[in-house]
Every structure is written in structure tokens, then in C-alpha cells.
């Protein structure tokens, strides 16, 4: 197992390096750079940047150097100093920016995720056991609906409904008075209130997929002879359901958990923009838009790493969950 993991990690290294190159290239791809973005933004407020101003700024930020040089410097600093560069937009080291948003990002992602799994797994089981019942149609229909509605529109509509019904569109994650307040019961409640819409919007579509997978897997497992064996042993239906088909059906779901790693750390970007959630997704989106390259670059690199890592975790989870693969590893 260890050897396998090491080998996989080793294989991932060239992939990540290659990705970092592409990442850097992609950020450079759109015309303009951070300075021109900045100048454009400031010109809206009436501040004028001449070409000399911009050139001077470029020189200060090292943006006047060739791309590959910028890349090499960036990578050198990462490797040598663990320094991921500086966010021009935030005037902060990249890591500080990422840290700033990490807490709430993880909160939102994990809560939505917990919601997804807690809802999807029982509902998936229910829909499989009661296949073609009214309940099956209802839940399947609901989850399909959640999947078929574009997030941003659903979010806006829910926000507007919340405003018309309760007078509060529930923007962001906290009411104004709690944003900078210390943690308290009230603040937590406020957060919970504001989580409702994001959880519905982000959760619903993910739930739809999960329900489908779970239902399908369960239907497969329910038809397996080992269920009949268990029944012949005199086990109760509930015990059979939980011990045999459910356990087996969870395998692919749990093992694809690694794939969600990236989304846990970014959150849903579009929904977050619409709902004004202070999480990584929009921050990164703006970094990309504004060509805040080290921030965007670090983030993309991080994402790529997480994807590679996520695949690895998935594979390991799969091995760990499946006795067959597990014993193979034990053997070698």
C-alpha cells in the first residue's frame, strides 16, 4: 500500500509541474495584465493612468519580464522559500488571502456536502427499495429539477422570494452586525439562517447526482444473491438492507469522495457570486478576471494538486473499502 501510494505520488509530480506551466500560460492568455486591469478599474473612479504610469507599475511588480522568467521566479520562490507570491489586488501574500477565506469556504462546502450525503443516501436507498413508488417519483423528480435549474437563477429567485416573504434576501453568510462579531450562539444561528439558500442551491444539484448513483447502485445490490442468502439466514429486512446492499452501494459513492476535494476548497463559484458568499470561488474568479496572477496561479496549482490528490485519495479509499483490492495490497 505504502509503495503504491509513493509510486502514485511520484507519478503525480510531472503532472503537477506540467499543470503549473499550463496554469501560468493560461493566466497570461487573455490580453492585458494586472496593471491594465487595475488602471481600467481606477479609471472608472476618475483616476487616470498614463502609459508611463503603467510601465512603472509593471516594472515594480516584475510584470515587464518575459513570461517564462516570471514563471521561473515564481516556482523558485515556491520551492526555495515556500513563498507563493503576492496578491496585487489584496496587497497581501497569496497565502494570507487564501487563509482569509478558507474557514468559511470549508464551512459552506462541508455543510452543503453533509446535506448532500445525509439527504441523498437515505433518499437513494428509499427510492431503490420503493422503486416506482410515488415517493420514488417525487424524490427523483425533485432532484432532477434541482439538477436541471441553472444555479445562478435558482439562487436569485430564492433570494428574491426570501426578500418578498421575510423582508431579508439573506445576502452573504452573516447579517451585517455579525460579520465582524466574535463567535457566539447568535452568530452561529445567523450563519445557519444564511446557509439555507446556498445549501439548497448547491446541495440540490449535487444531491440529484448522488441520489441517482445511490439508487442505481442499490438496485444492483438488491438483486444480488447475497441478499437472498442473508434473508435465508433469517435476518430482518432492515438489517439486511443496511448490512449488505447499502454497505456495498456506498462503495462507489465514498470512493468518489476524493473527486469532490477541489469543490470543497473552492465552493460553488457562480452561486457564491450571486449570493455574495465570502468564499474562495469568487475570490479566485476575480483573481482570474483581474489577472492577479500569483493569486490565480497559486490557486489553480492548488486545485490541480487537489485533483491529483483527490484521485489518489479516491483510489486509496476504494482499496480500503473493497476487501478484494485490500487483500491484494496486503499480499504484495
Amino acid at each position: 500500500m505504502l509503495q503504491y501510494t509513493l509510486k502514485r505520488i511520484l507519478l503525480a509530480v510531472p503532472v503537477v509541474i506540467f499543470i503549473s506551466v499550463i496554469v501560468f500560460y493560461i493566466i497570461q492568455l487573455p490580453p492585458g495584465d494586472y496593471v491594465s486591469n487595475y488602471a481600467a478599474e481606477m479609471s472608472v473612479a476618475g483616476e487616470v493612468f498614463t502609459q508611463e504610469d503603467m510601465a512603472a507599475m509593471r516594472a515594480d511588480l516584475g510584470l515587464d519580464r518575459p513570461v517564462f522568467e516570471q514563471y521561473l521566479i515564481w516556482v523558485r520562490d515556491i520551492v526555495v522559500h515556500g513563498d507563493f507570491g503576492f496578491s496585487f489586488n489584496y496587497n497581501k501574500p497569496v497565502m494570507a488571502v487564501i487563509q482569509q477565506y478558507m474557514g468559511l469556504t470549508l464551512t459552506v462546502s462541508l455543510v452543503t456536502m453533509a446535506f448532500q450525503y445525509l439527504v441523498a443516501i437515505p433518499v437513494g436507498i428509499y427510492c431503490a427499495v420503493k422503486q416506482y413508488s410515488a415517493g420514488d417519483y417525487f424524490f427523483s423528480g425533485l432532484s432532477f429539477l434541482g439538477m436541471a435549474t441553472p444555479h445562478f437563477l435558482l439562487a436569485v429567485i430564492l433570494m428574491f422570494l426570501s426578500y418578498t416573504w421575510f423582508g431579508d434576501p439573506l445576502l452573504g453568510l452573516f447579517s451585517a452586525e455579525y460579520v465582524n462579531a466574535a463567535w457566539s450562539m447568535d452568530k452561529a444561528m445567523d450563519l445557519a439562517k444564511h446557509m439555507v439558500i446556498p445549501v439548497i442551491v448547491i446541495g440540490l444539484s449535487g444531491t440529484a447526482d448522488l441520489i441517482r448513483v445511490m439508487r442505481g447502485q442499490m438496485l444492483d445490490e438488491l438483486n444480488k444473491p447475497n441478499v437472498v442468502t442473508a434473508r435465508a439466514k433469517g435476518l430482518s429486512e432492515r438489517k439486511i438492507l443496511l448490512k449488505y446492499p447499502t454497505r456495498a452501494a456506498l462503495n462507489p459513492i465514498v470512493s468518489t469522495f476524493g473527486w469532490s476535494l477541489t469543490s470543497i476548497f473552492t465552493g460553488s463559484t457562480i452561486t457564491a457570486i450571486v449570493l455574495n458568499l465570502p468564499i474562495q470561488g469568487p475570490v479566485m474568479f476575480n483573481a482570474l478576471l483581474g489577472q492577479d496572477m500569483y493569486l490565480a496561479g497559486t490557486w489553480l496549482l492548488f486545485m490541480a494538486l487537489l485533483t491529483v490528490l483527490g484521485t489518489l485519495i479516491s483510489d486509496i479509499l476504494l482499496a480500503w473499502l473493497d476487501p478484494k483490492i485490500r487483500t491484494e495490497f496486503r499480499g504484495t
Binding site: T229, R231, K233, E237, R247, D322, P323
Partner: protein, 351 residues
Amino acid sequence: MTTQTAHAQQPLLRVQDLKIRIRLDNGVMQAVDGVDFEIRQGQTLGLVGESGCGKSLTSRALIGINPKECETTGDITFMSPSESGKPVELLSLNPNGRQIRAIRGRRIAMIFQEPMTAFSPMYTIGNQIMEAILLHRTKNKKEAKKIALEMLSKVGISDQEKRFDQYPHEFSGGMRQRAMISMALSCNPELLIADEPTTALDVTIQAQVLELMKELQQEFGMAILLVTHDLGIIAEMCDEVAVMYLGKIVEQAPVKELFANPKHPYTKGLLKSMPRLGGDRSRRLDSIEGSVPVPIDMPPMCGFYDRCKDRIDGVCNRMAVPATRIADNHTVRCFLYSEPGEANSHVQAHP
């Protein structure tokens, strides 16, 4: 043939007019159509027939583990000696209820054809064997494990401690079936239903497993319902045999009688298609022409009509065939042995 014990003549399970219907998109399939038989304590009844004849459904219906799409009617009466033979109507019990579950695995155990899929790949063999023991015999895990290890050794699995913690995929096919048998017998059942127990195994392993089953039957004194398509196994294992074709028992007799004196054309065909040790090797094995029809919306007629060499046109394809008792313990369902006019006379399948 197994040694008859003192209480051998006591009936253990009686099946009367068992019918199983399955609803399909294109009609209702009469998978099992009026099956009657009886199993006595300690006796081995063979249920033989080709694929799709309904023998598996019949065997599973006994403990109510068919899928819920199967509509089952008729009477299945179980007379457990441990309840001093008090008859219990199995079909009238809630199929998921406590009562039937107390019988499943405990009084009537079952082993399956594919030990690989019948075990869950997710749990160790030990875990799955202990499950029934914990359910029916003891709540104590240590004790349960002890029983399980004992059972494993009884079925001839050495190094039980290690085997106990292994997963099904680490067992060979024969080993798995042994484990399956140990699991089925771990609660001292009074009836063991063996559904094609050796079909998936190599021939040498088959013999070992069958031998094992025989030994264990003697030791535990249980009755066996052996479901198979293999007449050889029947000959080796059973006291009595019922031949099923298209949801009906077409002939039933003690093993010797059946082999010596087959009556139904289908039985005859089956016997002819069986290779014999020391038989004429140059002789080609006979096969039964044609294939089994689908029993959906079948008119009342003999199911074997299309394939039968001795069919009587205008009779066999016009009305349902009644069972005819041609000897004390030999019944057959064929117009060759009964007058069409007697079509409605009911004959009990047991002697």
C-alpha cells in the same frame, strides 16, 4: 441411500398446490403451477428438472424468500419436531415477520448454487457465518465464534482461525461451498434446502461436497431438499425424487423406482440423456428435442406436448393433465397413464 432413522416416517414439511405467478410486462407467468410434495424427517427429496422449470422458485418459496413480484399461493405446512410436530402454515406468515424469520436459518437453512455471490464480498466468512448463530443460538460473540469455528472444522476447513477472518474471494470454490454449508448447518436446521449446491464446482470437488453433505445429514439428522438438474446427484443422494417440468411435478417416486421404472416421457428423456458409467461409449447421448415454452397465458395442456414423442394429439394439447398414482409411491402426470375422463380426479402426491 441414507440410513433411515427411527422417526424417518414423520412428515416434516408438506407442500400442497403451490402456485407461483410472476407479473411481467407482457402477461402473467405461471412459474410454478400446483406443486405437491412432502418431506419426511431425515429424508432427502430430490427436485430435478431443467433450467426454468420452477424448481428453484419452489424451493425458495418454502421459506418465503422469493422476490415480492412472485405471487405465491397454496399451503406449505412445516411440522418441526422441536415444536413436537405442531404444524405451522408458512405461507400464512408475514414474509418479513418474526415468526418466519425464526424458522429461516434456524429450522430450515439453505445453501445456494453460487457460493461466490451468495456471500457478500464485503465481510469476512467468519462474520457471515456468525451472523446466523448470533441471531438464533447465542448472543455471546465469543461463543458464536466458537460454534462457527467448530462448524468450519466440521465441513473440513483446516486452519479455521485464519480462514475465519478471510474474505470470500480468498477461498476456493469448493472451500466457499463448504463454508456455505457450515453456515447453513450452524444452527442445526431440521431441513436443509440445497439449491444446486454443486453445479458451480469442479467434478472432484462436487463429489467431496456431496459426501460431506451426506455425512453431515447423518450427524445432524436433518432432512434435505436437494434441487438439481443432475440426475447423477439425485441417484447418489436422494431417497425420493420429484421431476419438475414447466412448473409442475410430472413424476414423483422413490429413487430406485424412478430410475428403474420411469414413466413420464420427460423422465425417460432425462434418463436417456444421462451418461452412464460403464455404458456404451460409442452410443450417442440422447437429447430432448425442442425447447421449453414460456408459461405465459398457456392454455390448459401438457407442457411437454411440443417435445413429446408419445403425445396424443387432441388430448394432450386440449386439457390439463392430472396426476395419476400408478403405484403406491409413484405418481405421474401423463395421459399415457390416465384416461382423459379422469382429468379432474385429484390424487395426492404422497403415498
